[in-house]
Amino acid sequence: MGIEGIGASVVRKEDRRFITGKGRYVDDIKLVGMTYAHFIRSPHAHAKVKGIDSGEALKKPGVIAVLTGQEIVADKVGNLICGWAITSKDGSPMKMGAWPAMAPETVRFVGQAVAVVIAETKNQARDAAEAVVVEYEELPAVADIRAAIKPGAPQLHPEAPGNVVYDWHLGDEAAVKDAFSKAANVVTLELTNNRLVPNAMEPRSAVAQYDDAEEHFTLYTTSQNPHVARLVLSAFYNIAPEHKLRVIAPDVGGGFGSKIYIYPEEMVALWASKKVSRPVKWTGDRSEAFLTDAHGRDHVSKAEMAFDKDNKILGLRVKTHANFGAYMSLFSSAVPTYLYATLLSGQYVIPAIYAEVMGVYTNTTPVDAYRGAGRPEASYLLERMMETAARQLKVDPTELRKKNFITQFPYQTPVIMTYDTGDFHASIDAAMKAIDYAGFPARKAKAKADGKLRGIGVSCYIEACGIAPSKAVGSLGAGVGLWESAEIRVNPVGTIEVLTGTHSHGQSHETTFCQIIAERLGVPISQVSIVHGDTDKVQFGMGTYGSRSIAVGGAAIVKAMEKVEAKAKKIAAHALEASENDIVIKNGEFKVTGTDKSIALPMVALAAYTAHNLPDGMEPGLKETAFYDPTNFTFPAGAYICELEVDPATGKTTFVNFVAADDFGRLINPMVVAGQVHGGLAQGIGQALLEGAVYDSNGQPVTASFMDYTMPRADDLPSFQISHTTTLCPGNPLGVKGCGEAGAIGASAAVINAITDAIGNNKLEMPAMPDRVWHAIHG
């Protein structure tokens, strides 16, 4: 490891612009002649749109247009798509209703847009929107999953009878039945995985510009995957062909999944920019984010686990209902199926697993992938199950886990996944040592003497990241491939530009990707630039989500670099009159082994571009591209242990310690990895203790601002004690696994296990706010 190479905690190159206020986010962009959009949104969870009267609004100062759902449908802008086809148990395809960008006839959740005002200023657009009169005929609504599938429930879409999108299953039902018939003990658990609102701090925003001479659109947008946005906007929404549409995602203020999707507002901004022949800007406010950003989680599950007389797991049966909201968002269908049930083996040898998942429409904001996406739901279910089982079987929860850990790799689970490598004993041992697990009973006793209930909770998660290979996900219904591209341009003076199809919105790619180059070529990271987020610059890429950037995007960079090195070696060998096989690259020099002859990278690059003296037949230039398709998922795993105290008088929880021992394979920049873990843990703890999107029975959101929805704040969280154990991922050239989601996947179970341990009552749902905890203690 060099001082800037792989494994070095280099401070971030991108920080200077952010700490000096020079970041460039979408809402910072101003175009000449720019207009402003303000959406008119349904106040009802379910209603017919009987009419829209924009007469008065059009007379207001600065108003340019009022555009409606009827018009966007008439202009043949496509309905929003769901990009992953799921097949039900009975072989039928999933059943979906249409989702137009603005509702022409029926609204199905509070906040769904029916019209948009375009005006000269933001305030004028907002003022005029007040004057648009929309006549609604209210329909009965349903927000709760269980209520939505009852006979007689309000129906959302005629295409989906009973509000059921699909009734899917995975695993071997007969084998599980057999396992349960042989069980010495069966443990059952019912739980809810609470609905979350992603709340990236930057609200979504779009600036769209249409050039009528070139028939060309430019869209600046808050996207995690601008190329996917362009593909979908072109191929499905009929905005423009790909070569006539440039999508730019500049600095993006967090995503956590919510900025994967192509939302109605971006589509409308593009469409409207052509209608009014002016650039159109829309920036959502926080209330709109609560109403329209795809939410996360929202499962209700029942699980049963069978054990033999030695406490070895025999089988697992899970039945889950997943709330999709009012429409099927872009990857929503995959989240409670292939991103969830495939992880139900956890870190354990479970010979038989059977999972049934019913996806359900309700009159709520659409639900899709949010940090972890399916894997937190699996991990929470399984890790609460293990803790519940340990209590029922009267064994130490760490011992029960250790007894059932997978220790041989590769390991084929009964639910599709083949774990490539791991060492689950190493991570739990590291976590137990860090928190002094053995000393806990004494600490608990002391706390009791002080009138406090102290608990300890363990969570051993595993996740599948870098979702892949493309062929495999295609066979499971994905509408896209999940490879990644990289292009490396060595400039004539030896500086380097790396073009990547991933997108950084906090992940630190501008630093860590440079470190990969520095490690291989010995070039200082100041001489390397990372280019991303612009479809005119980077040819194609799948973006950033699912902890895929380093495992897939980083591997693509290595593959491109290998090609650059191969050509550079030929040029160096030619210049040094040596054999190509004798050239080694060290600290930016191409050396002939066993001699003192060498040539520096900039001279090799210059030779490539002057082309005065290249090997016969070689093309000039030094630029290579690679498309990398992984051979398997990666499997980050780890152990989290939480120790906390509950005040029995108030139900308030106070952290004593939170330790994490993660195995992410090779770390490129440990400082950055730690930051990713901290952020993930905060979101997992937030889910456990504070966060939850609530609707009333009529589908009205009760938690649609930061006044009502509890975001974790500095005072709510402890400092974290994190460490790493390492098994290198054999599936990619860097040995990396990805670290972006781990904390959010593993943390919530550790917290709830600790609280239920403290209070001696397992009936506790997230978020475990003081009133819930108090009631769990006192009944």
């Binding site: 920080d15 206020g21 809402d27 990236a200 930051g675 901290h678 601002s705 500095a714 400092s719």
Partner: protein, 161 residues
Amino acid sequence: MSTVKLTVNGKAVSVDVEDRTLLVHLLRENLNLTGTHVGCDTSQCGACIVHIDGRAVKSCTVLAGQAAGSNVTTIEGIAKGDELHPMQAAFRDNHGLQCGYCTPGMIMSAIDIVNRFGGQLDEATVRHELEGNICRCTGYHNIVKAVLDAAGRMKVAQAAE
């Protein structure tokens, strides 16, 4: 419309704005100081924090007219040329930011905290004082470290002056 005269980052400015204009919008839209961000509409998140006459204030909660005659400092105004403010340097050195969106407000809030508490800061105090700033990326761990680090650096810098 009204004319609002104030000093922003040491420069006297005079801006014509609608009476309902908030200070944050004057800064972002009229003066193009886009480092100050808007993260919510309920004065909860603190992405918009600037200093008015040396005190941290949520600029989404102040009418532009209320700031007339005052001295406003934004994230763009705290470095001395190329030399970062110790709080900016501490955020970078401690990886106290990821996506960068909440960062300007965090830094402006944190400077005010250090100014108010001087050398008396500990982790619990920093966490309590930061409750008006929301970050979704960092879990606050490294922000707290950065503020404590900067408190030391600012003390040294003050002693040197």
